[in-house]
Symmetry: C2
Subunit: 172 residues, 2 copies
């Protein structure tokens, strides 16, 4: 079983950027690795419009199932997903033997200022109902394996912290 | 992208048996291969009891997503699932670049006589509502890549036919 490295946090905390760097780094080491991005799942199922709690949970469960299959076929699996609910994080930890949860932590203000996808702006304009952190709750992770303060650290420093952690744990 | 070989048909047509032989055969050739069995998905999501059309569709979509990820990581993926709906078979074909649909065809009478899991007996006793072929429809595949008459052929002959077909198509 290969590890499943799950990056979570609000939109704008740097999940996708750091996940892509991690993927590149794993492949550079000759490892088989893949990235499951939250948007990939939405696009696949063509339900981009529905950001209900129920649909988010369903999407995360789909990711967990796919991650288990990749993991058991020795593909190091990186997940990049907001994952706002403790319930689904517990589900992932229960189902995935080598689950590693990395919480990218930044204040809502910092995330909204960066706003790489323009989602916070759209939420302020009332065009993005159910936006996590704005009008839907983000449940702070209670027991991540690692929390990285991406609000304060540079992208390079955040990445170095993740790499160091995964190296220490023998995961990468 | 590796092929996704999808075995479908009523309960009792030999899906699991043939899928396991296929998996063994692929691995014996040194290929990376895995099997996604319908029951695995139900067990994973612990929703065994719900055999509604909606839940069946949702389960098949989960399988398609996981199969896509395995396939793009060069794992030959074998799926064993009743897959009673043309709609979801079209979904699988649309989403999976190397989808290969193999229909295991046997009469309801033959399947009910074999009844490896005792599901037909339980259905007759009213304990298995929604049983496909009994009180829920099985939509005959319109355009499988291969149909194998497992009602008439022996297990060995059915398997030989599948192997020959996959060999000819360069899939195994």
């Amino acid at each position: 079983m290969s590890p499943v490295v799950w990056l979570l946090g609000l939109s704008g905390t740097g999940k996708t950027t750091l996940a892509l760097r991690l993927l590149e780094s794993a492949r550079a080491k000759g490892l088989r690795a893949d990235l499951i991005d939250g948007d990939l799942v939405r696009d696949f199922f063509a339900d981009r419009a529905d950001y209900s709690r129920e649909n988010r949970i369903s999407n995360i469960q789909r990711i967990v199932f796919a991650a288990l299959l990749l993991s058991r076929n020795d593909v190091l699996t990186i997940v990049s997903n907001i994952s706002p609910y403790e319930e689904t994080r517990r589900f992932a930890r229960r189902k995935l033997p080598r689950y590693c949860e990395i919480y990218l932590k930044a204040s809502l203000e910092d995330c909204a200022r960066r706003d790489p996808k323009g989602l916070y702006r759209r939420a302020r304009e009332g065009q993005n109902p159910g936006m996590i952190g704005v009008d839907a709750p983000f449940e702070e992770p209670r027991s991540p394996d690692l929390a990285v303060d991406t609000g304060r650290l540079s992208e390079d420093d955040s990445f170095a912290e993740i790499l160091r952690f995964l190296g220490e744990k023998g995961l990468l």
